[in-house]
């Protein structure tokens, strides 16, 4: 196979790894308020890294596809800086707060509009709703084979070979292309993108296509929103921490040892 056409689905979300004190819940409005900058959902960064490695090995093209509300191209341009070739944003008020099914449907429409592809990569789950289903739903919608929880992905002729994490270790599976693979963190972190490279890209930004409902969906009735009955803060997890003091590590260690002695 000469050159591979990869689509990476990447969601933009508020950084899910901030301390819990930066997250609050507006019970009235049923909204989660995260005091954090937006990022690419972590597993989607892993998916992009997997895509870039495949491209480095065999050449090809990576298109990043992102659906969201007020998607910031600044955040998503990082994908270009890291090694993606094209970025497509999908944004429309009609696409806000969609359920997983409808998100997968809109993505499938966009993928049909893009046209030819060999491989679709998604993250194993998005870091905001932790749902973990859009990838597999998308494959069903497109009628292509899907493999989840990849820790390594290789292309061999017209097939994809995946090592996927299973409870007893890992399983090696293969499927014909086109196929969809959901990616787990074991593939490794997205490569480092230098600030200067990012700044350079932002100085001369190439236009990014933005697709809306009229470009993608004829039948808006098909789309369903998440029906939130209630949103509440989590139970309080705090405990009163007893700090062990001491002027040397050994002194602290001795005190900690006596604590364990009482426990044991």
């Amino acid at each position: 196979m000469k050159g591979i056409n990869i689509i990476v689905c990447a969601k933009q979300i508020p950084d899910p790894e901030v301390p819990f004190s930066n997250v609050s819940v507006d019970v009235e409005k049923k909204e989660v308020i995260v005091d954090a900058p937006n990022v690419i959902s972590p597993y989607d960064e892993n998916a992009l890294e997997a895509a870039i490695r495949i491209k480095e090995e065999m050449g090809g093209k990576i298109t990043v596809l992102s659906l969201g509300r007020k998607v910031s191209d600044t955040v998503l341009r990082k994908t270009i800086a890291a090694g993606a070739d094209a970025l497509i944003l999908i944004e429309d008020p009609a696409f806000e707060r969609l359920d997983s099914n409808s998100v997968a449907y809109v993505l499938s429409r966009a993928i049909r509009k893009i046209g030819a592809y060999d491989l679709i990569l998604t993250g194993r789950q998005a870091g905001d709703w932790d749902s973990g289903q859009v990838g597999l739903l998308l494959a069903e919608l497109l009628g292509i084979p899907s493999i989840s929880l990849a820790r390594s992905i290789k292309i061999k002729e017209d097939r994809v070979l995946v090592e996927k994490t299973v409870p007893v270790g890992y399983e090696v599976v293969e499927a014909g292309l086109p196929a969809l693979v959901t990616v787990s963190n074991e593939v490794g972190e997205l490569r480092y993108v230098s600030r200067s490279k990012m700044m350079g890209l932002l100085k001369r930004p190439t236009p990014i296509p933005k697709w809306g409902a009229k470009d993608l969906v004829d039948d808006l009735e098909r789309l369903k929103k998440i029906q939130l009955v209630e949103l509440s803060p989590p139970p309080d997890m705090r405990r009163a921490c007893l700090f062990i003091e001491g002027s040397t590590p050994q002194e602290k260690a001795d005190k900690l040892a006596s604590f364990f002695k009482e426990l044991g």
Binding site: Q133, S148, R151, G169, S232, A253
Partner: protein, 329 residues
């Protein structure tokens, strides 16, 4: 519209505890709705498992048998369950948020044209419309959402420990043999081999000593191993776990990862070394009886949820602690 159906899972041939939890949760929901609760066992030879699940008060056990259901192949399982759901049109379908559940449930939901909510902690029936109200943590556990979806069956995956496991009863469930119409052609993903690795089951430990990104060198996990060794003399079964970055670096296998996308455990004692306490980690260990945190940053989150904290570099503290424990043993 008929029963509540739940998917039975096994571990090394034995009934998995999460199935007993589903039976408890499912039986209560079925009672609220005045419908029967049933279970389905999938495989090429389902009798032993079906027999063991028949003692927990369910009305019926469907034995879904076919040669293609040997082992676990997601497409075959989804195909078989789709076939069964079309025969019996269950009203509610409960599946564990396990490896099998995460593979099967989304595919099945799509094929049955219904909507799935994953990783639920609590389920109840809305008395107004009879729909399932699905409670699930979002943003890693920073908020709890209760939602409703249309579609039948009402379908969810359920987090481990969401319900107490069911106890045995004296009556037996009816066993119903079912042979799904399955064809080799539905399997598009071919399994080439499965490589078994030493798998640790962290939920069997009395004490878990976990290292995070703060552990700067792979060799330093030997300090944790030495500590585990010293602790095992007084603390029962001691195992080593970790946070996700340690798995990302391939220093440990993913079965040792604790958290939202790893294991959810509740040992007697949990020692977090060089772990900051991100919410996705906390949900995996917050139910531990005692939490001890060792970290150089006095402001880190882990101290907020810990019972005992030591602000210290692990490189200095752990060897000193091991020495002291060994002296006083």
């Amino acid at each position: 519209m008929s029963e509540l159906l739940l998917l039975v899972e096994s571990k090394e041939g034995l009934l998995d505890k999460t199935t007993l939890e589903l039976i408890r949760g499912g039986s209560e929901l079925a009672k609220d709705l005045g419908i029967d609760a049933a279970a389905v066992v999938v495989g090429n030879e389902t009798s032993p498992l079906a027999e063991s699940v028949a003692s927990y008060g369910l009305k019926k056990i469907y034995k879904l048998e076919h040669p293609l259901l040997k082992g676990f192949q997601p497409e075959a399982w989804a195909g078989a369950l789709e076939w069964l759901a079309r025969q019996i049109t269950p009203r509610i379908f409960l599946i564990s948020h396990s490896f099998v559940g995460k593979e099967v449930a989304p595919r099945l939901a799509y094929r049955l044209d219904t909507e799935l909510t994953t990783d639920c902690l609590n389920l109840r029936i809305d008395p107004q419309d009879g729909l399932l109200i699905r409670t699930k943590p979002i943003y890693g556990g920073n908020a709890i959402a209760a939602l409703k979806c249309a579609g039948l069956p009402q379908m969810v995956t359920v987090r481990k420990n969401a319900f107490e496991p069911m106890e045995k009863v004296t009556t037996k469930s009816d066993l119903v043999d079912m042979v799904p119409a399955l064809d080799e052609s539905i399997i598009k993903v071919k399994s080439l081999k499965t490589v078994k690795e030493d798998v640790v089951e962290l939920d069997k430990a009395n004490m878990v000593i976990a290292g995070g990104r703060g552990i700067v060198a792979k060799e330093d996990f030997e300090m944790l191993a030495a500590l585990a060794q010293a602790m095992s003399k007084s603390q029962g079964k001691v195992m080593i776990g970790c946070s996700r970055p340690v798995v990302d670096k391939s220093w440990m296998s993913s079965d040792r990862q604790i958290g939202l996308t790893g294991s959810i455990i509740a040992p007697d004692t949990y020692i977090a070394i060089g772990i900051s306490g991100a919410i996705q980690h906390l949900v995996g260990m917050i139910r531990s009886k005692k939490i001890i945190a060792i970290n150089t940053d006095p402001g880190c989150n882990m101290f907020k949820v810990a019972d005992v904290g030591v602000v210290e570099d692990y490189k200095a503290l752990i060897p000193a602690l091991v020495k002291k424990l060994e002296e006083s043993a």
